[in-house]
């Protein structure tokens, strides 16, 4: 059997297994709701630090899911996804800090700004094949970085934009139980709701006919083109949606971390988010959020012991690439199938 045929069989097997499992388990327990509720209780049951970590995981999850829309769903390897995250962070930060625009306007503007930039840059990117696509996305992200780093008047240059204000969340006091929460905890809850809604939307998009077309393009672009699908247009659409979502994640991150800095847009950040995505598993919708949680948690645990976090991350990446290309969720999936087979036999 050729490699391509083997891959196809494997993919089909995984897809069927996933379908069967979702019918068997999620029919009984609404897992996503359970996780959402658990995450939402963090400000009450956990420490301030736990809330901080939960917020980081939540925002990273949205960012990684947006990347996976390109990587896992459409089969585009972007090495500059951080550009759109950065555009969103800067648009929201500049609007809120310099122009004192309320969050309710600045936040959608960040998503639109990032989507617009994704439309312009993506128009050129989707014309290129694999490695050139990766290089051009890298080039665009470095252009964003160069502008952010040097345009002192608007972006603050290498000093960045510190002290971006929190949105006004006084209305949350009206919700029972939220009265004595700090502003950080309130912003976390807002973030959680926004991210949950966004993830639900992405989930719908991936399962929609549009999402199916993207998957077809990933598996066989020539065939998709032969079926009359405008491959470039669909790729561009995925690119714009992914860019806009990354922009939303960036806007949330700028407020969460109390500032936007040029470092956020440096190319190595794109690599980090790629690692997060494949650590979870690019073949699964819930892979990237799992990867985000795992990476944030690992970072906390390991930096307690050693300053050489990059080294550990590199080793994790090696183990992943050579041992578990399906990531955490992919590994669990295989394990689960093996257990099931043993039980059946």
């Amino acid at each position: 059997m050729t490699v391509a045929a083997k891959k196809k069989v494997l993919r089909r097997r995984v897809a069927t297994a996933a379908a069967l499992r979702s019918r068997a388990i999620s029919g009984r327990i609404p897992w996503t709701l359970v996780i959402f509720v658990i995450m939402a209780t963090v400000p009450w049951v956990g420490s301030r630090y736990d809330t901080f970590l939960a917020a980081q995981i939540t925002i990273d999850a949205l960012f990684a899911v947006s990347l996976n829309l390109l990587l896992g769903t459409t089969g585009l390897v972007s090495f500059g996804h951080v550009a759109y995250f950065g555009v969103g962070a800067y648009v929201c930060g500049i609007l809120m800090k310099t122009y004192e625009v309320p969050f309710s306007l600045a936040f959608p503007a960040a998503g639109l700004g990032a989507a617009l930039f994704a439309l312009i840059s993506g128009y050129f990117c989707v014309r290129l094949i694999k490695l050139y696509f990766a290089m051009l996305t890298l080039a665009f992200s470095q252009i964003v970085w160069a502008i952010a780093y040097k345009w002192n008047a608007v972006t603050g240059g290498d000093q960045g934009l510190p002290e971006i204000p929190y949105p006004n969340l006084d209305w949350m006091s009206a919700i029972p139980g939220c009265g004595d929460l700090s502003i950080g905890a309130r912003f976390y809850l807002l973030t959680l709701v926004i991210v949950a809604v966004s993830l639900a939307a992405v989930h719908r998009v991936v399962r929609s006919p549009f999402g199916r077309v993207l998957t077809t393009i990933r598996d066989n672009p020539e065939r998709a083109a032969f079926l009359g699908i405008n491959v470039r247009l669909y790729r561009l659409a995925a690119f714009v949606v992914a860019g806009g979502l990354a922009g939303l994640a960036g806007a949330l991150y700028g407020i969460f971390s109390r500032g936007v800095f040029a470092d956020y847009v440096f190319w190595s950040k794109s690599a980090e988010i790629l690692i997060m995505t494949i650590l979870g598993g690019i073949g699964y919708f819930w892979g990237p959020p799992v990867g985000a949680a795992a990476l944030v948690w690992l970072n906390q645990v390991i930096t307690d012991y050693t300053q050489y976090w990059s080294f550990v991350l590199g080793v994790i990446l090696l183990v992943l690439l050579f041992g578990f290309p399906g990531g955490i969720v992919g590994g669990l999936d295989l394990l689960w199938q093996r257990v099931k087979r043993l039980r059946n036999a």
Binding site: V77, A139, W145, I147, Y149, S268, A271
Partner: protein, 282 residues
Amino acid sequence: MGGLTTAMFLFLIASGLSLIFGVMRIINFAHGSFYMFGAYLAWQAVQWLHPTGGRFWLAALLAAVGVGILGAVTERLFFRSLYGREELYQLLFTYALVLILGDAAKFIWGTDQLSVSAPPALAGSVQILGTTQPLYSLFIIAIGPAIAFALWWVLNRTGAGRMIRAAQMDREMLDALGANVATVYTVTFALSAFLAGLSGALVTPIQSIVPGMDVLIIVQAFIVVVIGGMGSLWGTFWGSVIYGQVLSFGILIFPGFSLFSVFALMAVILIVRPWGLFGRPL
């Protein structure tokens, strides 16, 4: 002149990157790490050989050979099983090397700035056209074309070079003809790492050695390789010349935005002619 020094210097680094891309179709992010190791190893060799300075050339050669061996070992141990895998895995593997080698350098040599003094023969400066030029910069400008010709000679006039060029054109055919493609790949990789190590060692007299120099240089080397054409030796040479001139004129025309102009140039080339000015379409 400053532009030309930068250019020749970048050519040394980018030539190895371009070589690997041409033969193996891999974008090697770890090339910058090899360069950084070249710099650190050169410093280390100078300390061992002659702590007060001197014996620079021997140290540079030792460093380059050391990095070449490191490259060969990496290829044998890891890269081998990645050929034919999706490019995402290849890219991420080279990035894993960046992370590991970066921290390894911090672990071995610490985070302080290190520096190596120029060899005594090249320590002075001369007057050219009314400007003062450090001799060492002139040496870099001279060595760029020298390395280019040496590489050209190796690739076009020796048996090993013929093998490398054949692997570049059609790997499977070369394999079918009975050549040992695996060895060709290892040699190519070692040669590329050697060039990275050599450029890292040669930069030590003009730049201090610091952690993070790996990720900064690799982006510049990418730009050069993209402009000239990945896999093309002379393309890389002219790509570095163009890069150096754009950077130095960029500083004159829009101060502060020279960085922007080189990235914009990279994007424009990729849009208009993805295979570069001197490359061939894949």
